[in-house]
């Protein structure tokens, strides 16, 4: 009879050390992911902090002077002038203006297209549309910006006689191209996640295909569709190159979409290259960056909260 191989069953030191080392390495890479997000916020916020704390910066600009009407009752963003003016309201108006135009175009198009792919399209067409959207997502934003500036602007001006060649409509159309892929993808995922049983039940009750899509599938997928809109908003809000190229970059306090404007992100891109390191202007630009980070952070959080809710809802309904 063999001697019981007790000692062979117990852990050997060398192998255990190697395993532990590798596990630690792999696990720490996960912490790097969390760390990256934290570091982004910390290092952008760090450079924005003097806006709140530094007396030197306060001589030129404070948070309050950034939103309050200036001496003559105007709101002007003119950081590089003899007496720098830092009203962020024109930037806010410009950002909202272009985001709104982009979403008004992108959301209906993307969601309708998502409904078509998930509900009506034959398999072959479906296989065709997805790569098209992927391709659209793969076009660098600087290329879209270039196209909006060179081509779309000319077409629109010829068609509608805009006074400003570059305006929120031109930039909004460009921006919508960057937003469509994300809205489409998230919405399509949500619609396809609706169990086939829902559709079968609806058909069994005598509903036709579009009634099923409109009254059963779309409502069931609503949290996901809403998430698509929120994430699309976040994407539009922070997009830089398209707006930078096609907005005209004039920080005007105008709600008219036919006039030029300037967005938060484009302001950073256009001005940070020239700014003096450590100047009030430098800190204000980082403050805008931190603001963009916080806004998109919460938009993303909200978007994913809705995606989770959709999943919980569909799974809950299936169990019941």
């Amino acid at each position: 009879m063999d001697r019981p191989p007790n000692e062979r069953l117990l852990l050997k030191g060398k192998r255990r050390i190697i395993e532990t080392l590798l596990e630690t390495a792999v696990r720490s890479s996960a912490f790097v992911v969390i760390g990256a997000l934290v570091l982004i916020f910390v290092f952008v916020a760090k450079e924005a902090l003097p806006l709140f704390t530094s007396a030197d910066v306060h001589k030129e600009v404070t948070l309050w002077t950034m939103v309050r009407p200036q001496e003559n009752g105007e709101f002007v963003w003119q950081p590089v002038s003899e007496k720098p003016k830092y009203s962020i309201l024109p930037l806010a108006v410009g950002t909202l203006k272009v985001t709104l135009v982009a979403l008004l175009i992108a959301i209906p198009l993307a969601i309708l297209a998502a409904i078509f792919t998930s509900e009506f399209a034959p398999q072959l067409l479906r296989e065709l549309i997805k790569p098209v959207v992927e391709l659209l997502a793969g076009i660098p934003s600087v290329v879209i910006g270039f196209f909006a500036l060179m081509v779309v602007a000319t077409w629109l001006q010829d068609a509608f006689g805009f006074v400003f060649r570059l305006n929120a409509i031109t930039a909004g159309i460009g921006l919508s191209l960057a937003v469509i892929p994300i809205v489409y993808t998230v919405a399509e995922d949500a619609l396809s996640a609706v169990p086939q049983a829902f559709r079968d039940a609806s058909t069994a009750l005598g509903a036709n295909q579009w009634q099923t899509a409109w009254r059963v599938v779309l409502p069931a997928a609503m949290p996901g569709v809403f998430a698509a809109c929120v994430l699309g908003f976040g994407r539009a809000f922070g997009e830089t190159m398209i707006v930078l190229l096609a907005s005209g970059n004039a920080a005007m306090m105008s709600f008219d979409p036919r006039e030029s404007f300037r967005s938060f992100s484009a302001t950073i891109a256009a001005e940070l290259g020239e700014v003096v390191y450590g100047s009030p202007h430098y800190h204000v630009l980082f403050f805008i960056g931190a603001f963009l980070f916080v806004i998109t952070f919460f938009l993303n959080l909200a978007g994913h909260w809705y995606v989770d809710r959709l999943r919980a809802r569909l799974e809950g309904k299936l169990k019941a």
Binding site: M1, P4, P5, N6, R8, L9, L10, L11, K12, R15, R16
Partner: protein
């Protein structure tokens, strides 16, 4: 014969679901132990507890002890890799890995950084699995090209390559044709000379054909455990009688 595995008051849960309760039995060296019972009776859970494969299931939890050559395998400092090589397992569905037949057989030696020159062992295990004649000329072909029955015998040979002390078989013939089944059963009876076999099976007749002793599981408990002949010819419990005579299950 000496006791190789000693299961004492062993219970297991998946989360709050109790899968095994208070199992006590011992496995003797060089026997074939058959485990029978209806679907969901815990026989697979029991088998996967013996090589701690269920540790991979997140909410799996056990009480009691399982001694292997006198060492409690649920001790903290047990080397799971070494344990699982000592208790080799063959699954219900044949799972050849992508690659050639030879690469499949050498999985174990690859994992242990052993030199892959075990040519003699390859032939021995393939012969033991009654597969040698069918594959000896195509060892370098893909394992996926084999038939289902051949794949399962390859999986058996792959496990034998680990040179285990105990062979854990989880319904190894469930999807196979009668000829393949017969070959595997023949192989098992031969293998008994070298190692201990625990055979979980849905097929009552299979247990009666090859097992020395048989345990009947029902709802996570051992209802009856004894010599195969006694279980089938003269069972003590009513449930055992009903199950082996085909009344339910």
């Amino acid at each position: 014969m000496s006791t190789i595995l000693e299961v004492r008051n062993f219970s297991a849960w998946y989360g709050h679901y109790s899968a095994l309760s208070d199992i006590t039995l011992e496995v003797l060296d060089h026997e074939i132990l058959g485990i029978i019972g209806p679907a969901g009776c815990g026989k697979t859970t029991f088998l996967r507890s013996l090589n701690r494969l269920n540790d991979l299931v997140p909410d799996f939890r056990v009480e009691g002890s399982i001694g292997f050559w006198g060492v409690d395998i649920y001790r903290q400092d047990v080397d799971l890799a070494a344990l699982r090589r000592k208790l080799g397992m063959v699954f219900a569905v044949p799972v050849p890995l992508p690659g050639t037949i030879l690469e499949n057989l050498r999985l174990g030696s690859r994992l242990n950084n052993r030199k892959a020159d075990a040519g003699a062992l390859v032939e021995k295990t393939l012969r033991a699995a009654y597969l040698w004649d069918e594959v000896k000329d195509r060892l370098h072909q893909s394992a996926f090209a084999l038939s289902g029955g051949q794949q399962q015998r390859l999986c058996l040979a792959r496990t034998l390559m680990l040179e285990p002390d105990v062979l854990l078989l989880d319904e190894p013939c469930s999807g196979l044709d009668p000829i393949s089944t017969a070959k595997i059963e023949e192989a098992l009876v031969e293998l008994k000379r070298e190692l201990t076999i625990i055979l979980v099976t849905n097929n009552v007749m299979q247990a009666s054909r090859v097992a020395d002793r048989t345990a009947f599981f029902l709802q996570g408990r051992v209802v009856e455990f004894g010599l195969t002949q006694q279980i089938f010819v003269n069972p003590k419990e009513k449930e055992t009688y009903e199950y082996v005579s085909g009344r339910f299950g």
